[in-house]
């Protein structure tokens, strides 16, 4: 009986996966040495923990929370206050453990607020989290003693006695602290999915009524999971406080909560690793895309819209579906279609992008005249030719994209059919 569920060969894969993850965390800063890269990498670690903790609610528990930033944000505030207490000598705590203060704050607030929110599920749960998020944000502006008002609360992470020569002054030292926390937190959150509570949380997501009839209190399952998610959210917030050395009220705001939801969904809530992809994209979008274009939020909205419509499982499910196709040796048949899809989508995006940039240029840069450069192409936002050209490119792209998309769907359907048949055939053997 027992060898049914002990996956000896799979364990090697697991060692490999986690070893690779540790290796990536360790060598990433060596490959991208610039200051910007270090900032981006540090933020990625923080975002990964936050998005994974959010997915404990969304993906694993079916809890659509609109207020997860409450737990990361309050974790940040408690951590920065703890850091300042360390600096003033009233709290004997090494700086490397300050993120844990954030984690404990996350637990505390999740115990408090979760008691209210997790009594309900579905839409009611979502609404209560939204309300609580607004409440905490309003409070943050009303209590400047704790939240620091408009300027926020700042701190200095180079404090206390340096251990082993680590002062946390240079960004690379902070990065490695974040990397260590990220590795442990990701490992712990993955382990959670393999425990009785983790599994019952999935069961509550799928069919809460049935759970009640196998002896479990669904509210309690949700509540405990919510507290655990709050812990990791708080850790993420604590790391952010150390990383930025300043915490402002926006970290508990609805925009932040929305970003967690959006990017967790974009990465893929149905797979454990989905939110990791989402978190990486979140940081890239916030740091790089926002530098690249003023219209970045609009592009983000468009991407989100397309994902919800065409790939509701997120990027992770796209990867997994293609892996399945590859396992049955059919991926080669698709690469031409993929190339066509990519090229036509690019044409579509170029046309749409040119128009969006022209609109933004007209609205925001009126003093600079109507001329602008879009990817090296000179455009005139007040000339009919530029608009006509951009529209033509966009419509051509749209038309070709739709044609290739239909062709692709047809091929995809055939391959899926083949795989289903193949599975049935292997089952019957």
């Amino acid at each position: 009986m027992k060898n049914h569920y002990q996956f000896a060969p799979l364990n090697i894969g697991r060692w490999l996966t986690w070893g690779l993850f540790a290796l990536v965390l360790a060598v990433a800063p060596l490959m991208f040495g610039s200051g910007l890269a270090m900032t981006v990498l540090s933020q990625m670690g923080i975002a990964i923990i936050a998005c994974l903790s959010y997915n404990m609610l969304l993906g694993q528990g079916g809890m659509l929370s609109f207020g997860h930033a409450v737990y990361t944000g309050l974790g940040s505030f408690l951590a920065i206050h703890a850091l300042n207490s360390v600096a003033s000598g009233s709290l004997p705590l090494p700086v490397s453990l300050v993120p844990l203060v954030g984690g404990l704050a996350g637990v505390g607030f999740a115990v408090l607020f979760g008691y209210v929110t997790t009594r309900k599920s579905g839409t009611t749960f979502a609404m209560i989290t939204l309300g609580l998020g607004e409440l905490v944000f309003a409070l943050s502006l009303m209590i400047p003693e704790f939240f620091g008002g408009e300027g926020g609360v700042s701190g200095n992470r180079v404090t206390g006695s340096a251990r082993l020569g680590i002062t946390f002054g240079p960004q690379i030292q902070v990065y490695y602290l974040i990397a260590a926390y990220t590795f442990v937190a990701v490992g712990a959150m993955f382990a959670f999915t393999r425990t009785p509570l983790g599994r019952m949380l999935n069961a509550v997501r799928d069919n809460p009524e049935r759970v009640e009839f196998v002896g479990y209190d669904t509210q309690k399952v949700r509540y405990i999971a919510f507290i655990i998610a709050g812990f990791f959210a708080g850790i993420s917030g604590g790391l952010a406080a150390l990383n930025f050395e300043i915490v402002t009220a926006e970290v508990v705001g609805a925009a932040r909560s929305g970003a967690y939801l959006l990017f967790t969904f974009l990465g893929g809530a149905t797979f454990f690793f989905g939110p990791i992809i989402g978190a990486i994209l979140m940081v890239l979008a916030f740091v790089l895309l926002s530098e690249f274009t003023k219209a970045w939020l609009l592009y983000l909205g468009l991407i989100f819209l397309f994902m919800v419509m065409y790939a509701p499982g997120g990027i992770a499910s796209l990867i997994m579906m293609n892996l399945r196709v590859a396992m049955y040796g059919k991926l080669r048949q698709l690469w031409v279609s993929y190339l066509a899809l990519a090229v036509t989508a690019l044409v579509l995006l170029l046309g749409a992008g040119a128009m969006i940039e022209m609109v933004y240029h007209l609205q925001l840069n009126t003093t600079l005249g109507s001329k602008l450069q879009f990817l090296g192409v000179p455009l005139d936002a007040k000339s009919v030719n530029s608009w006509f050209g951009a529209a033509l490119v966009m419509l051509t792209g749209l038309g070709l994209f739709e044609v290739t998309r239909r062709q692709f769907l047809h091929e995809w359907g055939e391959i899926q059919e083949y795989i289903e048949k193949e599975i049935k055939r292997r089952e019957a053997m």
Binding site: H4, A191, F192, P196, L197, E209, F213, V214, D217
Partner: protein, 257 residues
């Protein structure tokens, strides 16, 4: 101690001004198999919902092994040793067959809400889930998601989840609903097999099924128990024939099924 596995005392339930269950008294001895029959809308499913805690009764008592369970929550009643299935298949669609069954056994083995142990290390839970999977003959579908099973397989899984926790009193709400004749007869022998030694209450429309499965039959009409006796006596009961059974009994006596 009353000595009964399950006892209902003057159980009543109203929805608004309409009384659906109108004073039901029923005493089921441990190990008995009871079939509950009655016309549509007689209150059979409501009765199950009252016993299992889905609804709270308006008045009256429900006793499980002599302990009052009326007004308690479903999970408390389940922990006390009563488990039920549903008329509309009620499983965990996105979990595998094995995971479905393991979810059913976890509480009864005392694992509660723990998140400090790995599922893979819970030998007793895993062995029990494997056993159940063989009992309901789904061991070949171990890792198939429940949503991808055939209807009959899903019904079997529903029974598997229901008996997984080792409850002594089992309520099955139309276990064979929507099945073909041949599937039904196979399924009935499966139910008999997996509920051996347990107290069983079944709501069933198919007369052949009821008379083949039950030691005793309760006839529910308009929220009241019209008769509660061994099948032969129920068949012979003129009030039952008049109120509900009629030709169905005659069919069954002719050895139709």
């Amino acid at each position: 101690m009353s000595g009964y596995a399950l006892e209902l005392k003057d159980l009543r339930k109203s929805f608004g001004k309409t009384e659906i269950i109108r004073g039901v008294n029923l005493a089921v001895t441990a190990g008995e198999r009871v079939g509950i029959i009655g016309p549509n809308g007689a209150g059979k499913s409501t009765l199950f919902n009252l016993i299992s805690g889905r609804f709270a009764p308006t008045s009256g008592e429900v006793l499980l092994n002599g302990q009052r369970i009326d007004g308690k929550k479903p999970f408390e009643i389940n922990r006390a040793g009563l488990s039920r299935s549903f008329q509309i298949t009620n499983i965990f669609p996105k979990l595998s067959v094995f995971e479905n069954l393991r979810c059913g056994v976890l509480w009864s083995l005392g694992y509660k809400y723990t998140f400090l142990k790995f599922l893979a290390d819970l030998d007793d839970a895993n062995e029990r889930a494997e056993e159940l999977m063989q009992m309901i003959k789904l061991d070949k579908k171990r890792d198939v998601l429940a949503i991808n099973l055939t209807y009959a397989e899903q019904r079997a899984l529903e029974i598997g989840i229901t008996i997984a926790g080792g409850a002594n009193v089992i309520l099955l709400d139309e276990p064979t609903a929507g099945m073909s004749r041949s599937e039904t007869s196979r399924f009935i022998s499966l139910i008999k097999e997996v509920t051996t030694g347990k107290t069983l209450l079944t709501v069933e429309h198919d007369m052949g099924v009821v008379f083949g499965l039950a030691d005793k039959i309760a006839v529910v009409v308009y929220g009241e128990v019209l008769a509660f006796d061994v099948p032969e006596a129920v068949r012979a009961n003129p009030r039952v024939q008049e109120a509900y059974l009629g030709s169905a009994v005659a069919d069954s006596q002719a050895g139709g099924h």
